[in-house]
Structure formats: structure tokens, C-alpha cells
């Protein structure tokens, strides 16, 4: 009979993976949204398959589109997620998504201090706008707040620009200051799944690692040699 059992927390330490997904109207073109939905669904399933590892991967999804930024999937163990496909409409209010991500990661009741460094995964196909759909740089301040925050700044950040209209400046700014440097991944609708495979392999490698906070993204060019 254990005398110390009652004093230890009965849940595994989590590694959060937070997806910031562009659901603006333009994502409906060329099958981009359908490809994104498939890729997110598969990614969550792969995270859920990671059993008996050091860190339990928890997933949240923040969308930004027609009616602003929304936490459509609250942070929860990947194995518990019931995925519902995203719908797309309206502008690209990416700044609101940065604000929401920062709030989520700074909240210790949602992401406890015993968690491992989180992962932030940004996908966008267009130029940032305000809520009314006007091209805007109102994303810069919320991004700076994210990058300067106590906890959200510790996240490992990934970014994918989908299609030729994705704004390179925003995506690059999202990745700034990381070591080692992680490039913006440029994709058409056929390569969205490859990006998520890369993210999956990197995140799951971290969850198995001796020190999950070691930030060691795999070389994207080696992806085809990896199985998971």
C-alpha cells in the first residue's frame, strides 16, 4: 500500500500543440480547406497514437476568419478530440488569433507550469486584415506581445503559407528569433499534409525526448525517410 500516492498529480505532464488556422473565405478555393481539414485530423490522430511517452500531447485549435478569432477546440488530450471540419468565410484577422494564443498560453490554469514547452502552428493563405476585411498591420502589436510574453514566447513556432497570396512578412515575423532557425514552409493545397507530417514528427520526437524542451526540429528534407 503506497503511503505517498495521494501526494502526486494523477495526470501526465502535457505538451501543448496549438494550431492557428486561417479560415478566411479564400481558403475555400482550390481545395485548400479540405486539404487543411484532412491534415489537421490526421495530425491529431497521430498525436493520439503517441502512447507511453514522456509528454502527453494536448491539442487546441484557434481559427481566424469571418467573425474574428475563436478557440474552436479547447486544449485537451489528442486522444479525446472529436474533430469537426472547419468552415471558411470572410477576412483574415490574424492579430486576434495571436491575442487569443497568448491569453491561452499565459493562463496557468489551462497550461500548468509543469507542462513542457508548447508548439504553435500557424497556417495562412492571405494577407492579414482587420475584422472588416481591410488589409491591416494590426497584427504586429499582438504578435510582439506574444513574442515578449513570459510563457507564450517559449513556444516552438511553425508557419505555413498556403498558395501565392500568403503574406511572407507575417509568417516570417511569427518565426523570428528562434534557434535553430525554422523557415516558413510554402505550400500549395497538395503539400499541406506534408507540412503537418513535418510538424507531427518534430512534436512527437520532442514528446519522446529525454528533454522535451530541447528544440530540435527535424530537417524537412529528411521527411520522406521517416516513418511514424
Amino acid at each position: 500500500m503506497s503511503k505517498l500516492r495521494d501526494f502526486s498529480i494523477a495526470t501526465a505532464r502535457m505538451m501543448p500543440a496549438i494550431i492557428l488556422a486561417d479560415v478566411s473565405g479564400s481558403m475555400t478555393a482550390y481545395g485548400k480547406l479540405a486539404a487543411l481539414n484532412r491534415a489537421i485530423s490526421e495530425t491529431i490522430a497521430n498525436f493520439a497514437d503517441e502512447q507511453d511517452v514522456r509528454a502527453e500531447i494536448h491539442v487546441a485549435v484557434i481559427t481566424f476568419g469571418g467573425d474574428g478569432a475563436n478557440l474552436i477546440l479547447p486544449l485537451q488530450p489528442a486522444a479525446q478530440v472529436q474533430w469537426t471540419d472547419l468552415e471558411a468565410k470572410g477576412p483574415t484577422p490574424i492579430g486576434a488569433a495571436f491575442e487569443l494564443a497568448t491569453r491561452l498560453l499565459e493562463d496557468k490554469t489551462i497550461v500548468p507550469s509543469r507542462s513542457y514547452h508548447p508548439n504553435l502552428i500557424l497556417i495562412s493563405d492571405g494577407q492579414p486584415t482587420d475584422d472588416r476585411g481591410h488589409i491591416s498591420d494590426n497584427w504586429k502589436q499582438p504578435l510582439q506581445e506574444l513574442l515578449n510574453s513570459e510563457r507564450a514566447s517559449k513556444a516552438l513556432r511553425f508557419a505555413m503559407g498556403v498558395g501565392p497570396d500568403a503574406d511572407e512578412e507575417t509568417l516570417k515575423a511569427f518565426l523570428v528569433g528562434q534557434h535553430p532557425e525554422i523557415p516558413v514552409f510554402r505550400a500549395d493545397e497538395t503539400k499541406i499534409q506534408k507540412f503537418f507530417r513535418w510538424v507531427t514528427v518534430t512534436v512527437t520526437n520532442r514528446s519522446r525526448s529525454i528533454n522535451p524542451n530541447d528544440i530540435t526540429p527535424i530537417d524537412f528534407d529528411d521527411l520522406d525517410d521517416l516513418e511514424f
Binding site: 503506497s2 503511503k3 505517498l4 500516492r5 495521494d6 501526494f7 502526486s8 498529480i9 494523477a10 495526470t11 501526465a12 505532464r13 507511453d52 511517452v53 514522456r54 509528454a55 502527453e56 496557468k108 507550469s113 509543469r114 507542462s115 513542457y116 514547452h117 508548447p118 513570459e150 510563457r151 517559449k154 529525454i210 528533454n211 522535451p212 524542451n213 530541447d214
Partner: protein
């Protein structure tokens, strides 16, 4: 001969290799020590940083460095704690040679009670250092961490004694206890039960014969209830056992 204040002090500790190191056939990279002598009585523990090649040596030498530092420090009348910490860094740096300090990085936590009865507790890096007072109240050296797990400093990382957290008290009163533990335990403790955890260690394990206690503690730490626990786990406890003539 031990002073009266020293003779009422009791201590024990335990350390087990985590599941990950067992799987990978790597050694326990935590270390701990309990010592007593003319300088007083102390418990020390250290957690070698997991990604470092010389982590095991780093943690063992951290314990040795504190032990070595306590002797000259205690001989100097009223030397400040910062002097002790500088000595710890110096002795540790000497002992891990010829390996590089950054490859041997290790946390360092210790509690010492000198012959006058004064208590000093110091912590560099992750883990927990806490006092449970006789009335059940708790003092934890470092508040809740601001960042995330495994985000730590230590010997080989810290560049200043200001990176340490230190507390000094005139005495460890009767029935008060100090707990030190590495993050393999500290990160999984239920926040409002740390005091009960210390009390259980003292009352349930403190009275056991040393061999029985060692086996019992190893069993507890190997069967730690938190799912997916993989870290090495180490704790040490120092408490003031109330002598019969100290009862009011």
C-alpha cells in the same frame, strides 16, 4: 561531540533511476548526500541536466562541492551565505575538470544547520526546497515557476550567486522539517499537499530502520503515481526531532 542542537537533528534521503534511464541503460543522474561534522548537519541533492553528456558526474560533484565548501565557510565567523555559494561554484568547477562546466550542468539544493543552530537553505535550478513548520505551515523557497517544466539553471549555467534562492533562519524549531527534492518529484506534487507530503515522510518513514526505509522509499519512488513518470527521483529530509526534555 555534537552540540545539543545537532543531536536532535535527523535526516534521510533516497534516489531512484527513472524509467527513461533504465530503458536507455543510462545511470541515475541525480545525486544526494547527508553529512554531519564540525560544520554542522546538512542534506544536499542535485539533478544532472538530462541533455548534458557529463550530467551524472556534475550532480555527484555538486554534492561533493557543497560538502567541501561547508568546512571553510563554517570556520569563518558570520561569513555570508553568498560566500558559501561562491565556494560551491569554485569547488564544483575544480571537481568536474577536465570536463567542461556546460557539459556537467547540474542543479544544486542544500540545507545546513551550523552548530549555533542557524539554518541556511539554498537552491539553484529546478526542484523544491521547502520547510514544514511545527504548526503545519509551509514555506517554499521558490514560488511557482513562471515558465515551463525542465527549464532550469544550475551549476555550469548560472553566472552569478544572484541566480540562487537562499533563506536563512535562526533555527529549525522542534518538529519542523526541511524537504529537498529534484524535479522528478517536485513537478508532480499536488500543490496544496506539500506539507502533508513532508509530514508523511517524517512520521511514516523517519521512524523506520535505515535499511527498511531505503527499501520502502525506493519502492514508493519507483511506483510514483503520476502517469508517464520517467525522470530520476531524489529526495532528502532533515528534521528537528523533539527531545523528551524539549517538551513544555
Amino acid at each position: 561531540m555534537l552540540s545539543r542542537s545537532q543531536s536532535c537533528l535527523e535526516s534521510f534521503g533516497a534516489s531512484v533511476r527513472g524509467k527513461l534511464h533504465i530503458q536507455e541503460r543510462r545511470p541515475n543522474e541525480d545525486a544526494w548526500m547527508k553529512i554531519s561534522g564540525t560544520f554542522g548537519t546538512a542534506i544536499i541533492l542535485s539533478d544532472g541536466m538530462g541533455s548534458k553528456s557529463n550530467a551524472r558526474m556534475g550532480s555527484q560533484m555538486a554534492c561533493q562541492a557543497v560538502k567541501a565548501a561547508l568546512k571553510p565557510w563554517s570556520k569563518s565567523d558570520r561569513a555570508p551565505a553568498a560566500t558559501l555559494l561562491r565556494l560551491v561554484h569554485l569547488f564544483w568547477g575544480l571537481r568536474i575538470r577536465p570536463d567542461r562546466e556546460e557539459d556537467s550542468a547540474a542543479t544544486c539544493l542544500f540545507a545546513v544547520i551550523v552548530p549555533s543552530g542557524e539554518l541556511t537553505i539554498a537552491q539553484l535550478g529546478d526542484g523544491i526546497a521547502a520547510i514544514r513548520n511545527a504548526d503545519g505551515s509551509i514555506e517554499i523557497l521558490q514560488g511557482e515557476r513562471q515558465g515551463f517544466s525542465n527549464q532550469t539553471t544550475g551549476l555550469g549555467v548560472a553566472k552569478s550567486t544572484r541566480d540562487w534562492t537562499v533563506i536563512t533562519k535562526p533555527a529549525l524549531p522542534p518538529n519542523a522539517a526541511v524537504l529537498l527534492a529534484t524535479d522528478g518529484i517536485a513537478d508532480d506534487l499536488v500543490g496544496d499537499r506539500v506539507g502533508d507530503f513532508i509530514h508523511t515522510l517524517v512520521t511514516e518513514f523517519g521512524s523506520m530502520a535505515p535499511v527498511d526505509r531505503r527499501h520502502a522509499l525506493h519502492r514508493e519512488l519507483r511506483n510514483w503515481a503520476t502517469p508517464n513518470h520517467l525522470d530520476d527521483k531524489t529526495l532528502a529530509v532533515l528534521w528537528h526531532k523533539q527531545a523528551d526534555d524539549e517538551h513544555k
